[in-house]
C-alpha cells in the first residue's frame, strides 16, 4: 500500500462518491452506501497494514494509518454505512445533496483521523465542519448558523493552539511538537486551546448549546453526527493529550492523586457535561432533543476518561466512545424509524409502538440497555471501567457526578422506552407498520457489536490496549471475557451465565401467572372515555422532578449566549456609524489617516 492508495480509498473515494451521488438523484443513497461499503471493506482488509505516508498536493499532508486511526475509522465507517443504508428508504428531499454532504463529511472525518500534521488536520476538520453545517441547514435552518459558529469557534481555537506550536517549532508535524522547542510553561496554553477546540465538537459544557438543535435534523444524518463525527472530538483530545504532548509531559505539570493537573480540570468539565446533559435530557419531551442531550451527557463520560488519563480511564473512554458510536446512532435511527412511520416527534404523543414495530423496539431496547449501562451490553463494561477509574483514585466530585448522571440516564431511557414503545397505543397509530427493510438492516448492523462485545469485550480491549501501549500510556489487564483492575474488574462470562439463569427464572415466572389483556378504555374511569393524552404515562412525565429542579433550570446557558450576542450586535450597529455616507467626512478621514501614517512613520522609521 502506498500513500496514494491510502489517501485514495479513505479520502478521495468518498469525495468521488460525493460527486457521483449528487447526480444520482433518487439513487444517491444507494450509491453512497456502495462507496462507504467499499472503503469499509478496505478498512477491514488493511487491519495491521499500518504505516506513515506523505501526500504532496503543493502542501505536504502527513498521513498515518495506525491502530488509533483504524479504531476510530471503524466506528466512523460502520456508523455512516448504516446511516446511509437507513436513508435509502427514508424518502429524503433532495437525496442527492444529502448523500453528497454525508460523504464529504465522511471524507473530512477520515482525513482528520489520518492526519498527523496540523495543516491536514485543520483542512479536513473544516471540510467536515462545513459539510455538517450544510446538512443541518437542510432542515433546521434557523439553528444551522449556531452550529457553524461553534464549528468555526472550534476551528479557531485549534488554530490558536496550532499557531503557538508553529511559532516555536516552525513545523506542522505532530511529531515535531515534542522536540523540546516549546517552552514547558507554554504547553498548558496549547493544550487548553486544542482540548477546547476539539471539545466543542463533543459538545462539552459550556459549548454544548449548538448540539440540541443540530441533532434535531434528519435522523440518518444525526446518527452519523452523534455516533460518528462527535468521536472526532474524542480522537482529537486523545491525540493532543497523549500523542502530541504525551503522558509524561502532562504529569510534569503536577499531579492530583496520580492524575495530571492538566487533565483533571477537563475531567471535571466532562463530569459537569455528563451531569448537565443528563439532567436536561430527562426533561425533554421531543425525542430528538432528548437523545441530543443524552448524547452530550454520554460524551461527557468520554471526556472524563480522557481527562483522568490513567490506562483504565482512557481505555474506558475509548470503549465508551466506541459503544456510544453504536448505541447512540442506533437510538437516533430507531427514533428516525418511529418518526418516519408516525410523523411525530413528541414522546407524549406516542406510545405503544412496540406492538406495531417489534423489531425496531428490540433494537432500541438493546441500545437503551447499552446507554444506561445495564450489564449484558458492552455499554456496561465501558461505564464500569470509567467508574473504577474515578473511584480508584478517590475523586469525590467526579465519581458522584458520574453516578448521578448514570441514574439520570436510567430515567430518560425509561422515558423513551415507556413513552414511545410501551404503554397504550394511540388510536391514530393503529395502522403504523414496521420500519422498512433497509432501516431494520441498518439498525441491526449497529446492534450486533453491542451484543458481541458484551460477551467478548476482550477483542475490543485488545485494540484499545494496543492504542494505549503505542502511545506509551500503559496497559490494560484483560482476557477475552473479562478485564480486571486494582479494585475489581468485570467478567462478562459470569454476567452472561447469571443473565441466562435469570432469564429462565423470569420466563418461568411469566408463564406461571396467566396475564389478562385489558382494553385501553377498560379501566377505573368507569367507562367514561378520557382524553387519550392525559391517560398516557408520558404526559407530564417527571413533572414532580421538574418542579424540584425548576429554579436551577431557569439559568440557561443558552440564554446567556443570546444576551452576549445581542450585546455585541448592538455594538456593531454603533461601529457602523463610522461610515457616515458623507463624502466630506470621508475626505477628512483621508487627511487624518495621512497625518496618522506620517506620525507612525516618523516614530518607526526615523
Amino acid at each position: 500500500m502506498d500513500a496514494l492508495t491510502l489517501f485514495g480509498i479513505f479520502v478521495l473515494l468518498p469525495l468521488v462518491g460525493a460527486l457521483v451521488s449528487y447526480f444520482g438523484k433518487k439513487y444517491a443513497p444507494i450509491i453512497a452506501v456502495i462507496f462507504t461499503g467499499i472503503s469499509g471493506i478496505f478498512l477491514y482488509l488493511w487491519y495491521g497494514n499500518f504505516g506513515s505516508y506523505t501526500i504532496d498536493i503543493g502542501v505536504k499532508l502527513n498521513l498515518t494509518f495506525d491502530i488509533t486511526t483504524w479504531f476510530f475509522m471503524l466506528m466512523m465507517n460502520t456508523v455512516i454505512f448504516s446511516s446511509l443504508l437507513f436513508s435509502v428508504s427514508s424518502k429524503l428531499k433532495r437525496a442527492g445533496g444529502f448523500a453528497t454532504l454525508m460523504l464529504l463529511g465522511f471524507a473530512g472525518a477520515n482525513g482528520v483521523l489520518l492526519a498527523r500534521d496540523f495543516l491536514s488536520l485543520y483542512l479536513f476538520w473544516e471540510l467536515m465542519s462545513w459539510s455538517i453545517y450544510l446538512l443541518v441547514l437542510r432542515t433546521s435552518g434557523e439553528y444551522a448558523r449556531r452550529y457553524l459558529l461553534f464549528g468555526v469557534l472550534s476551528a479557531y481555537l485549534l488554530i490558536m493552539g496550532i499557531g503557538i506550536i508553529y511559532y516555536y517549532t516552525g513545523s506542522f508535524l505532530y511529531a515535531d511538537a515534542l522536540s523540546g522547542a516549546i517552552p514547558h510553561a507554554i504547553w498548558p496554553w496549547i493544550l487548553t486551546f486544542l482540548i477546547l477546540g476539539f471539545g466543542i465538537k463533543m459538545a462539552i459544557v459550556p459549548f454544548h448549546v449548538w448540539a440540541p438543535y443540530a441533532y434535531s435534523s434528519e435522523q440518518p444524518f444525526v446518527a452519523f453526527l452523534s455516533g460518528g463525527l462527535s468521536k472526532l472530538g474524542a480522537f482529537g483530545i486523545f491525540m493532543s493529550m497523549y500523542s502530541i504532548a504525551g503522558i509524561s509531559l502532562l504529569q510534569s505539570f503536577g499531579t492530583f492523586r496520580g492524575v495530571s493537573l492538566m487533565g483533571y480540570p477537563f475531567a471535571l468539565l466532562g463530569a459537569a457535561t455528563a451531569f448537565i446533559g443528563t439532567i436536561l435530557a430527562i426533561f425533554q419531551d421531543d425525542i430528538r432533543k432528548l437523545l441530543a442531550y443524552s448524547s452530550i451527557g454520554q460524551l461527557g463520560y468520554v471526556m472524563i476518561g480522557l481527562g483522568l488519563g490513567t490506562p483504565l480511564a482512557i481505555g474506558g473512554a475509548m470503549f465508551h466512545a466506541f459503544n456510544h458510536a453504536f448505541f447512540k446512532s442506533l437510538l437516533f435511527l430507531g427514533a428516525g424509524a418511529v418518526i418516519y412511520r408516525t410523523g411525530k416527534y413528541k414522546i407524549s404523543e406516542m406510545g405503544g409502538l412496540g406492538y406495531r414495530m417489534p423489531f425496531t423496539f428490540m433494537f432500541v431496547l438493546f441500545a437503551i440497555f447499552a446507554l444506561a449501562g445495564i450489564p449484558l451490553t458492552s455499554g456496561f463494561i465501558s461505564k464500569w471501567m470509567l467508574y473504577e477509574a474515578a473511584i480508584s483514585r478517590k475523586f469525590v466530585i467526579v465519581a458522584p457526578l458520574m453516578l448521578i448522571a448514570s441514574v439520570g440516564a436510567y430515567l430518560y431511557s425509561y422515558r423513551i422506552l415507556y413513552g414511545v414503545f410501551l404503554g397504550q397505543l394511540k388510536d391514530e397509530d393503529k395502522n403504523v407498520k414496521e420500519a422498512p427493510g433497509p432501516m431494520l438492516a441498518a439498525m441491526f448492523i449497529l446492534m450486533v457489536p453491542l451484543v458481541i462485545f458484551s460477551i467478548v469485550p476482550g477483542w475490543i480491549l485488545g485494540w484499545i490496549n494496543k492504542i494505549l501501549v503505542e502511545n506509551g500510556i500503559g496497559k490494560l489487564n484483560y482476557t477475552t471475557f473479562s478485564y480486571s483492575s486494582a479494585i475489581g474488574g468485570a467478567n462478562m462470562a459470569v454476567f452472561w451465565i447469571a443473565f441466562i439463569l435469570l432469564l429462565i427464572f423470569a420466563m418461568l415466572m411469566f408463564m406461571a401467572k396467566k396475564a389478562r389483556v385489558v382494553d385501553q378504555y377498560d379501566n377505573y374511569l368507569a367507562g367514561e372515555a378520557p382524553p387519550s393524552v392525559a391517560l398516557h404515562a408520558a404526559h407530564n412525565y417527571y413533572k414532580p422532578l421538574r418542579d424540584t429542579w425548576a429554579p436551577l433550570l431557569k439559568h440557561s446557558i443558552d440564554r446567556a449566549y443570546e444576551k452576549f450576542s445581542k450585546f455585541f450586535a448592538g455594538g456593531f450597529y454603533e461601529i457602523k456609524r463610522i461610515y457616515t455616507g458623507n463624502p466630506q467626512d470621508y475626505a477628512a478621514y483621508l487627511g487624518i489617516a495621512f497625518l496618522a501614517f506620517l506620525l507612525v512613520g516618523w516614530w518607526l522609521l526615523w
Binding site: 504532496d56 498536493i57 503543493g58 502542501v59 495543516l119 485543520y122 483542512l123 479536513f124 473544516e126 471540510l127 465542519s129 462545513w130 453545517y133 450544510l134 441547514l137 435552518g141 434557523e142 444551522a144 448558523r145 457553524l148 459558529l149 468555526v152 469557534l153 479557531y156 488554530i159 490558536m160 496550532i162 499557531g163 503557538i164 508553529y166 511559532y167 516552525g170 450586535a569 456593531f572 450597529y573 461601529i575 457602523k576 463610522i578 461610515y579 455616507g581 463624502p583 467626512d585 470621508y586 475626505a587 478621514y589 483621508l590 487624518i592 489617516a593 495621512f594 501614517f597 506620517l598 507612525v600 512613520g601 516618523w602 518607526l604 522609521l605 526615523w606
Partner: protein, 474 residues
C-alpha cells in the same frame, strides 16, 4: 514567447476599435470584449509560464531602464495578472446581461478597466504605475455611475472624491521620490532608496501608502467602497472586487517590498490590516442589503491580504497572494450570483431573497464562493487564510491573530445568515432559472475555485518565488 506589453496593447487596440465596430453592430462589440479578455487571459497564462523560468523584462521603446519604461513581470505579478484577466473574462460573459445604453461605451470602459488593472500589476516604472492607476480609477468612476440612478451617482461621486485625493497623494509621493533620486524605475529607486533624505523618504512612503491604500480598500480609506459597489451595475461590482482592488494591493506590496523595504513599518501595516478586517466584517454584519454586505466583506478580505503583506514572512506573503487569487475569484462569483439574486427577487434586501438560490446552477456555485470566502477547505480561500494566520503566529502576533479570528467569526455569522435565507424552503414558485450568461461565468469561477483549492500545487509552485519578491526582486 509572449511580450507582456501585449497584455496592455491588445485591450487598448480592441477598446479603440470598438466604437468603429459599434457603428455596425452593438452586439458585436460585446462579443469582441469577450474575445479580447479571453485572448488576454490566454496570453497572461503563457506569460505566467515564461515568468516562472525567470522574470520577464519588457523594455518599451528600446530605451534601457531607467531611461525609458520597463515592464517587470515576476512570477507573482504574472499570476495576479493572469487571475485578473481570467476573472475579467468570466465577468465579460456576465456583461451580456447588461442592457442599458450606451452599451458600446460600457464595453470600452470595462475593457480599459481590465487593461488598467493589468498594467498596474505588470509595470516596473513608478510613474507608469500612476498612469495605470488613473486609467483604472477613471474607468471605475465611469462604470460606477453607469446605472445613472441616484445610488450610482452618489457612489461614483464618493469614489471620485476619495479616489482623486488618493491619486493626488500618489503623484505627490512620486514627485518627492523623483526630486531626490531623479529616477522613476522601481528597481532603480529600490537600489538607491537609502540615499534619500529621511524626511522626504517617509513623506514619499506615506503618500504612496495612502494613495494605494485607497485602491486596496485599507481602513479608513475604504469609505468609497460600499457606495460605489452598491451603485454600480452588477458585473462592475464583481469587477471592482477582483480587478482594481487586487491591482491596488499588488501596487501596495510593490511599494512596501520592492521599493521601500521598511521592515520597521511592517507591524503597523499589520495593525492597519487588522483594523480593516475588523471594521469591514463588523459593518458587513449590520448590512441588510446584499451588495453592501458583500462590499463590506470585500473590505474585510482586503484587510486580511494587507495583514498578510504586513506580517512579511514568506509564508504570510504567500498566503496574502493566495488570498488575493481566492478573493478575486470568490468575490467575483458572489457578486455575479448577487446580481442574479437581486434580479430574481426584484430587491436588493437579503430578507427578500428567500429561497432564491435553490436552483443548483446558482446555488452550488454560490455556496462554493461563500465557503471559499469564509476560508473553508477544499476551496481556494482556505490556504490563503491559513498561511496568513500561521505566518502571523510565526512572528508572534498572538493578540492580533486572536482579534482577527474574532472578526472572522462575525464574517461566518453573516454569511451563514445569508446562506440560510437564500436556501430556505418555501418560495419554490418564485425561483427562476438563470440563463447562460449568468451561470456560465459562475460555473467557470466555481470550478477554478475548487480545482485550486483541492490541488493547490500549481499556485503554490508559483508562489514559492515570494521570497524574491519580499527581498525586493520582481
Amino acid at each position: 514567447m509572449i511580450r507582456p506589453v501585449l497584455l496592455i496593447a491588445l485591450p487598448l487596440f480592441f477598446a479603440f476599435l470598438s466604437p468603429i465596430i459599434g457603428i455596425w453592430s452593438k452586439k458585436g462589440v460585446r462579443y469582441l470584449i469577450i474575445f479580447a479578455t479571453a485572448l488576454n487571459a490566454t496570453l497572461a497564462g503563457i506569460l505566467l509560464l515564461e515568468a516562472l523560468q525567470k522574470p520577464v523584462f519588457d523594455i518599451i521603446g528600446g530605451f534601457q531602464p531607467p531611461l525609458g519604461i520597463v515592464l517587470m513581470v515576476g512570477p507573482l505579478g504574472a499570476i495576479i495578472a493572469f487571475i485578473i484577466n481570467l476573472v475579467a473574462f468570466a465577468i465579460s460573459i456576465y456583461n451580456l446581461k447588461v442592457e442599458k445604453e450606451p452599451i458600446v461605451r460600457y464595453s470600452m470602459l470595462y475593457l480599459l478597466l481590465v487593461m488598467g488593472s493589468t498594467g498596474m500589476v505588470l509595470t516596473g516604472d513608478l510613474f507608469n504605475l500612476f498612469v495605470f492607476l488613473e486609467v483604472t480609477s477613471i474607468a471605475s468612476y465611469g462604470l460606477a455611475a453607469y446605472n445613472k440612478d441616484k445610488k450610482g451617482y452618489l457612489g461614483a461621486m464618493k469614489y471620485v472624491i476619495i479616489g482623486s485625493i488618493g491619486s493626488t497623494f500618489v503623484l505627490l509621493g512620486i514627485a518627492l521620490i523623483y526630486s531626490q533620486l531623479r529616477t522613476l524605475n522601481m528597481l532603480d529607486i529600490a537600489a538607491r532608496i537609502g540615499t534619500m533624505d529621511p524626511y522626504v523618504k517617509i513623506m514619499a512612503f506615506t503618500s504612496l501608502f495612502l494613495g494605494f491604500g485607497v485602491e486596496a480598500e485599507m481602513f479608513p480609506l475604504n469609505t468609497w467602497v460600499p457606495d460605489a459597489y452598491d451603485g454600480a451595475p452588477h458585473p462592475i461590482s464583481a469587477a471592482f472586487a477582483s480587478l482594481p482592488a487586487k491591482a491596488g494591493v499588488f501596487a501596495l506590496a510593490r511599494v512596501i517590498f520592492t521599493m521601500f523595504s521598511f521592515t520597521n513599518f511592517l507591524w503597523f501595516v499589520v495593525v492597519m490590516g487588522l483594523l480593516t478586517v475588523f471594521f469591514g466584517e463588523i459593518v458587513a454584519y449590520t448590512q441588510k442589503d446584499l451588495k453592501r454586505m458583500l462590499a463590506y466583506s470585500s473590505i474585510g478580505q482586503m484587510g486580511m491580504i494587507i495583514m498578510g503583506l504586513g506580517i512579511g514572512t514568506t509564508l504570510a506573503v504567500e498566503g496574502a497572494f493566495y488570498q488575493m487569487i481566492a478573493h478575486a475569484l470568490g468575490k467575483a462569483l458572489l457578486f455575479i450570483a448577487a446580481g442574479f439574486l437581486i434580479y430574481a427577487a426584484r430587491s436588493g434586501k437579503i430578507e427578500d431573497m428567500k429561497g432564491m438560490a435553490r436552483n443548483p446552477l446558482i446555488g452550488i456555485p454560490l455556496l462554493i464562493g461563500a465557503l471559499s470566502i469564509m476560508g473553508m477547505p477544499p476551496f481556494a480561500g482556505f490556504y490563503g487564510k491559513f498561511f496568513i494566520l500561521m505566518g502571523g503566529f510565526s512572528q508572534g502576533y498572538y493578540a492580533i491573530i486572536a482579534l482577527f479570528l474574532a472578526a472572522s467569526i462575525v464574517e461566518v455569522a453573516y454569511y451563514a445568515r445569508f446562506i440560510k435565507i437564500v436556501f430556505e424552503r418555501g418560495n419554490e414558485s418564485k425561483v427562476i432559472r438563470p440563463d447562460a450568461a449568468t451561470y456560465v461565468p459562475l460555473i467557470i469561477l466555481a470550478i477554478i475555485i475548487v480545482v485550486i483549492g483541492v490541488y493547490p500545487k500549481p499556485i503554490l509552485t508559483v508562489l514559492q518565488h515570494v521570497g524574491t519578491f519580499i527581498a525586493g526582486g520582481a
